[in-house]
Amino acid sequence: MMTDRDNDENAPNARSKSSPNAGEAKQRQRVLGERLREMFEDVVNEPIPDDFLKLLEQADEKAANTDDKSE
């Protein structure tokens, strides 16, 4: 079975289409894309710190109080 990596480095038809450097560049960009995604997703997957939810709760209470007063 042929993976993208094999294709970039060894496949003759890849070489005829583009230079070996272009294949390498494509490979680099693929790795770059994966890492970028990983960098972002690592943080997305962290649990939300309690501070955030507390802040929103406080803001909620404050808003409720102001609404009461204004009405």
């Binding site: 790795v31 894309g33 960098m39 803001a59």
Partner: protein, 201 residues
């Protein structure tokens, strides 16, 4: 029967739950923009509070994610502009270590990537983060950065090329100079030591 008041309340509850759902993404965006973890966390919190307090300006049915990301982005840049302690923003100075060029595929580490990204101009970095990291569409990124879709595309493309060069050459700014300077200083000290000993004899 639904009164306008309960309508408003359910709107707010809906807004809030959507906002809470976006918190992980806002944190990730802040962390990508600003490598100081504590500062990034503050920025994300402040962005969430800003979004909450300006919720009446949000048009229902429009893209809340793009809207909140735009708030975070604007907040980040206003703080960055205001803060004269640039070191807080450009963590590369504090975190620089010797890195060999990552010529082998799959050896790119996230810390390397982060440092390389710090070398990019702001507008290229943010475009790459939004598209490549956050998986946003070009249209969403354009909305967030308040620029044309074509501009986002060209920024992403330039960012990718620049990153490739940085990673290929291992050129993390004056890192090598730092090492060279360190070596030179060590050499001077050795020389001075030898001369001092020589003259003492």
């Amino acid at each position: 029967m639904v009164t306008p008041e309960t309508d408003l309340q359910s709107d707010e509850a809906e807004f809030k739950s959507e906002l809470v759902a976006l918190i992980p993404h806002l944190r990730a965006f802040a962390r990508s923009l600003c490598r100081n973890v504590a500062t990034a966390e503050d920025i994300a919190q402040e962005a969430v509070m800003k979004a909450w307090s300006s919720r009446k300006q949000y048009t229902r049915g429009t893209n809340l994610k793009a809207w909140t990301f735009m708030i975070l982005r604007n907040h980040f840049y206003s703080l960055k502009r205001r803060d004269w302690r640039q070191a807080d923003w450009d963590q590369e100075h504090a975190e620089r270590t010797l890195v060999s060029p990552s010529s082998q595929e799959d050896t790119l580490r996230i810390d390397e990537l982060r440092r390389a990204m710090n070398r990019l101009p702001d507008e290229q970095r943010e475009a790459l983060i939004l598209i490549g990291g956050g998986g946003m569409s070009y249209e969403e990124a354009a909305e967030i950065c308040e620029c044309a879709v074509g501009t986002v595309k060209s920024r992403v493309s330039r960012a990718r090329k620049a990153l490739e060069t940085i990673l290929e050459t291992g050129d993390f700014s004056s890192e090598d100079d730092g090492v060279a300077a360190h070596d030179a200083m060590a050499q001077i000290m050795t020389d001075a030591d030898r001369i001092a000993r020589g003259s003492a004899d």
